[in-house]
Structure formats: structure tokens, C-alpha cells
Point group: none
DNA sequence: CGATCTATATATAACTG
DNA sequence: TCAGTTATATATAGATC
């Protein structure tokens, strides 16, 4: 917000960094106070400058809010590990939030054309995951039929390509071209990104195209 | 900041207040995260909604900052543990990584939008939404073989489920159980965001009833 | 530095589907 | 209710003093 956009990454020049720190810290506190007043919320903020100096904002006061928070997240004040666990939980929440943002941001760049291409795929906003990983136990006949049709289309597509492949393989130099290699790589890269979101949850891991398997 | 200026005083209508609370809370957290990244600061924020629900933001994590703060102000409340330190650190690393990705993605999105504005709005990034939409021209035989195997497995899986479906439909009461109802809803792709992220990829594909097979 | 001054980038109030 | 859009109010980057 200013004359020019600055990238959100560490400001290298310490003089600018210090100025920005002061300005933004006061901006943050102002926002916090507005949130308190407008919504009747209670907010505590603690900031440590890179130099280690502490600043804080609290409404009604930092300590009461911190106490309340710690009591909620650490029912027994003596079990430290649970405090750590809850800290992790918090982190996880943040992480998930950011992941969602990331996904949303990625979607934003995609064309509506692509949206429409996936007939029903309205689910653009959700985590990319492969539909065949979803349990099929509860599906109705209609849905199964749909899946079937899709698979058949897909099969034909692949078969056709397979055919082309076999033909072409007699002239080896045409086997892979640069463009497609790049495409494949970037696709695998996509999985890599969404993957980091999913692994943390543990159970469902998207599969890279060449690792496909069902068990 | 909006269509109209609102006075900084408690919002009376609870519906508006709730909306404002959500928006401003996320805005506050975003500002905080920018402050951390730009300036290398450490920030913890704790927010209690009027209803008493707790939200928090922390970089690197709420607990460590709160501890550090309390130590400076009240030596008796010293709580230290490194029990889960490494786990937290790991998470933090993930988090930071994703944050960077998010920022990068935002930049990318903006670039894309600019491109769109100036030129052909076509398929800017070549990444197909689903892997089967990716051009297969460049794939090697081995990869095609893998895909084929995958599809075959998938076909069998679907066929098996289809069978189950047909059998089960004769005893209607067993056709759906509570768990599956929810699953189907999200699978069909109503804009319901499923709680368990597991079905989020559900897209509905077109269908046809013959046998899928590969030869 | 720190306060002040713009031009811009962001956040968000109100609106919309 | 809930996400997305738009018009506007704020925050703030860079400049100047």
C-alpha cells in the first residue's frame, strides 16, 4: 500500500525494514483496536522486533486474554506437552488456512474455460484430489454410470495415443519433444504442491500420473 | 474502507457484526503475517469473539511468544518445554514454505491477469485440470502402459462397486446409511464443502453403460 | 530519525447470486 | 448463509523536510 508495491519477503535494507516495522506495527494495533470496538472482541497482540524488543496491545489487557487463552488450550497448567500439542494444533490451523488461500489463489489464475470443460467439476474450490480416490460405496447407479462413461472416453483416448506411440516409436527422435516434457514436469510439480497440504492430514495422498495404483 | 465509512463504535446489528468480525479478523492476521515476513518480527495474536470463541495467530507460534512475553513481565509463570519442539519447527517450516508459495502464486495470478487483459484470454498456463486432459503425445510407452494399468484397475473397481450397488438396491433400506448420504451429497458436487476434505474432489463425470476393457 | 505529504495498493462495507 | 464483486475508505511506500 503505497507508491509502489513491495513483495512480501524480508526487507533487506535494515533502515527501510525498521521504518516499515514501525508503521505497520502501529497499523496493526490500530486495526486490532477497531476490531475490538466494532465487534466487542477481545484482542491481545504481542510483537517482538527483530532486535528483540517487545511491543504489545491488549483490550481489555494482554494478561487477561493470554490467561484465558492458555487455560482453554492447556486445561492442566502442569502438563506442558499438551500446551505444545495445542500450539501445534494452532499452527496446523494456520497452515491449513494458508493452504486454502494458496489453493484459492491458484484457482484464480485458471480460466473459466477449464472450469466448464470439467462437466460437473464445480468443485474447483476444494482441494485438488483425485476423484477416483473417493469411496464409491455410497454412490448411486447414476453416478457409477457416469464414471463408467468417462472411463471409456478416457480409455479410447489412451488407446489412440498408445497406437500413435507404437507407430512413432519407429522414429525414435520424435518420441518426446521438449514441450511435452515440460508439461509433464509441471504437472508433476502441481501434485507436489497440493501434496504438501494433504500429507499433513495423513490419509489421502494424491498420486502422480506415473505412480498410479490402487490397493 | 468500503462503500461507506462506518463509525468506529460497536456495530449494533449482530449479523453485520459477525461478518465484519470475520473479515477484519482475517485481515488482521494477514497484516500480522506480512509484518513477520517483511521485518522478521515475531507476532502472536489472540482474539476472542464476543461469543467467546478463540482465534489465534502466531509466528513462529503463539506459545513461544507468549512465554517469552510473560517471562519478561512475570517470572513466576515461566513455562518451558522442548518436548515437541522439533515437530513444531517442522510444521513451521512447512507453513513458511506454503506462505511463500502463496505469495508467489499471487504474483503469478496478477501476471496472468495482466496477460489476459492485454491478449488472448486462452489457456494461459498449460496445466490441465485433470491429468487425463494433458496431451499424451509425448508420453513414452512405459508411461502409457502405466496409465493403461491404472485405468484397468479403476475399471474393475468401478465394476465391482456397480455390482454391489445392483445387489444392494434390492434391499432398499440398506441402500444408504447416514454416513453415505453425506458423502453422496458432496460427491454430487452441491456446493456443500465437506467437513472431511476427503470427498472434496468429487466431480461427476459423464457416463455410459458398456463394458470397459483394454485390449 | 520522525513527522508530514502524496500516490497507490489494500482492505473492506455494501451488494449480489 | 456464504463466496464473490464493486466502490470506496484506509494503510502505507517513497519522498521531502
Amino acid at each position: 500500500m503505497g507508491r509502489k508495491r513491495i513483495p512480501i519477503e524480508k526487507i533487506q535494507r535494515s533502515e527501510y525494514r525498521q521504518v516499515t516495522f514501525s508503521k505497520r506495527r502501529s497499523g496493526l494495533f490500530k486495526k486490532a483496536s477497531e476490531l475490538c470496538i466494532l465487534c466487542g472482541a477481545e484482542v491481545a497482540i504481542i510483537v517482538f522486533s527483530p532486535a528483540g524488543k517487545a511491543f504489545s496491545f491488549g483490550h481489555p489487557c494482554v494478561e487477561s486474554i493470554v490467561d484465558r487463552f492458555l487455560n482453554q488450550h492447556d486445561m492442566s497448567n502442569h502438563v506442558v506437552s499438551s500446551a505444545n500439542a495445542s500450539a501445534r494444533e494452532q499452527q496446523q490451523q494456520q497452515y491449513s488456512e494458508v493452504v486454502s488461500q494458496l489453493e484459492a489463489e491458484k484457482k484464480r489464475g485458471e480460466t473459466i474455460e477449464q472450469l466448464k470443460r470439467s462437466e460437473l467439476g464445480g468443485n474447483i474450490n476444494n482441494n485438488p484430489q483425485f476423484w477416483w480416490d473417493a469411496p464409491t460405496d455410497g454412490l448411486g447407479l447414476h453416478q457409477l454410470e457416469q464414471i463408467r462413461l468417462t472411463l471409456e472416453d478416457l480409455r479410447m483416448k489412451v488407446a489412440r495415443k498408445h497406437q500413435e506411440m507404437v507407430m512413432r516409436s519407429s522414429s525414435p527422435s520424435a518420441f518426446l519433444d521438449d514441450q511435452n516434457v515440460g508439461m509433464i514436469e509441471s504437472f508433476v510439480g502441481q501434485n507436489h504442491i497440493s501434496t504438501s497440504a494433504q500429507y499433513s492430514g495423513g490419509s489421502n495422498m494424491p498420486i502422480a500420473p506415473h505412480d498410479l495404483c490402487f490397493n
